[in-house]
Amino acid sequence: MSETHDDFEPRITAFVCNWCTYTGADLAGTSRLHMASNVRIIRLPCTGRIDPLFIVKAFERGADGVIVSGCHPADCHYTSGNYHARRRFAVFHDIMQFIGVDPRRMTFSWVSASEGAKWKDVVDEAVRSVRELGPFEAYRALAPDAGAASPTGEAKPAPAATTEVTP
């Protein structure tokens, strides 16, 4: 999975906090920084409001990658939302990795309102690594109609294809 998928435009969903990253992304825009245009931003009040299930839902609906971004530690508008989020995402990050999701599909960052340039870097890097990974076909293969919607009535679609690798 190391070859670059040049003709592939990743779809990336970004869940960002209203106070820091959203403003930072806005700054990146008004500063006319050139960056990849693959990211759809969803603005939430705080990273503490971002349920890991949002990320799962984004993958379900066809995202190839996800960005979660909010205020730096100590800067949370609600004092501690980002601290709570940090623990939640740490656990989520690790368990998703355990079930076999490449962590490069999930970018977590702290981007403040003044860090327009950092936002550009985060976006470009996320797009670059997801482009390298290719479309998240493995997740799409889970869709109910993706595999064997066989007219014979076979109940279970075949499990996702496995790559032959020796441990």
Partner: protein
């Protein structure tokens, strides 16, 4: 190392305490274990004369704390409960207390000293534990003698045998695989799920009034049992137990299609242990890691 007998000591004390509690009216029902037609199972003793039904042996696998779960209206109706708890079960009681789902005075806990239990409960007679039949979660148990109790019965028990392959070893084996293989493994396992939600129903700590999977506005988790919805459900179920799971293994034991949920649960325990130095215990004051934070928590995965 001495080997534990299949039937644990202290059963006579257990029966006596149960009878006394019922006779004194301190509790209205004792929830413990009995012999059923096939194997051991939970019993609800309301008549002191029935206290002799109580048993405790290596088949007493069940985590009875699930009956204290606030969702169990039909059990709560019976009145104040006296509950037989192993060490692992006591951790679940602590979880309920910690999360204000239970008041300490609402339950009388009869702790039993335990030397491990079998993988399966449905056996005509108790068996001595062997590496082949021991519940893998018992290996390395740090609470064979519960501290969160009102009564404690039985003699101190030896450590249970090491299973053929420990849960940690199995998790490590999976960790050692390439990501694509882990994904193939887990999606295959989750695709077996029929969404009966037995895992949730038996979990002593799945206490939500309305489970996320039942929320329809919006419909966060697709209700039908296709692999995509199943991944969402199984990941979410596990995450909601992060730092709370007491490793009683009931979710896996009740799963009618045999999804190895204990591996996900164990991985989460490892994560919170490594990242937050947290180990679940039967001390209700031991604050759970999710919902808590430190200013200097690790954030190596954050840019």
């Amino acid at each position: 190392m001495t080997e534990a007998a299949p039937v644990y000591t202290g059963v006579d004390d257990l029966r006596r305490i149960a009878r006394e509690l019922l006779e004194a009216g301190d509790v209205r029902v004792i929830i413990g274990y009995e012999n059923a037609r096939v194997g051991a199972r939970p019993v609800f003793v309301t008549d002191p004369a029935d206290a002799d039904k109580l048993i405790f042996d290596t088949r007493c696998v069940h985590n009875l704390v699930t009956y204290l779960n606030p969702r169990r209206d039909h059990v709560a109706e019976l009145g104040k409960i006296g509950l037989v708890v192993k060490g692992c079960d006591a951790k679940a009681v602590a979880g309920l207390l910690r999360e204000s789902q239970l008041k300490r005075d609402d339950v009388v806990l009869i702790g039993v000293r335990c030397g491990g239990v079998l993988e399966a409960s449905e056996l005509p007679a108790a068996l001595a534990l062997t590496p082949e039949n021991v519940a893998p979660r018992c290996y390395g148990c740090d609470n064979r003698e519960p501290t969160l109790t009102d009564h404690l019965v039985g003699e101190p028990q030896p450590e249970p045998p090491r299973p053929v392959m420990t849960i940690d070893e199995r998790v490590a084996a999976l960790d050692g695989l390439p990501a694509e293989e882990r994904w193939a493994f887990w999606t295959e396992q989750f695709s077996k799920c029929v969404r009966c939600y037995a895992c949730r129903q038996v979990c002593p700590l799945c206490v939500c009034e309305q489970c996320i999977v039942e929320k329809t506005q919006p419909q966060w988790i697709e209700p039908s049992a296709h692999p995509r919805g199943n991944v969402s459900w199984n990941v979410t179920r596990a995450l909601h137990l992060a730092g709370r799971c007491v490793d009683c293994g009931e979710c896996e034991r009740f799963c009618p299609v045999g999804i190895p949920l204990s591996l996900v649960n164990r991985k989460l325990q490892q994560i919170v242990a490594e990242r937050y130095d947290y180990k679940v215990s039967d001390d209700p004051e031991n604050v759970a890691p999710i919902g808590d934070y430190r200013l200097d928590d690790q954030q190596e995965f954050i840019k």
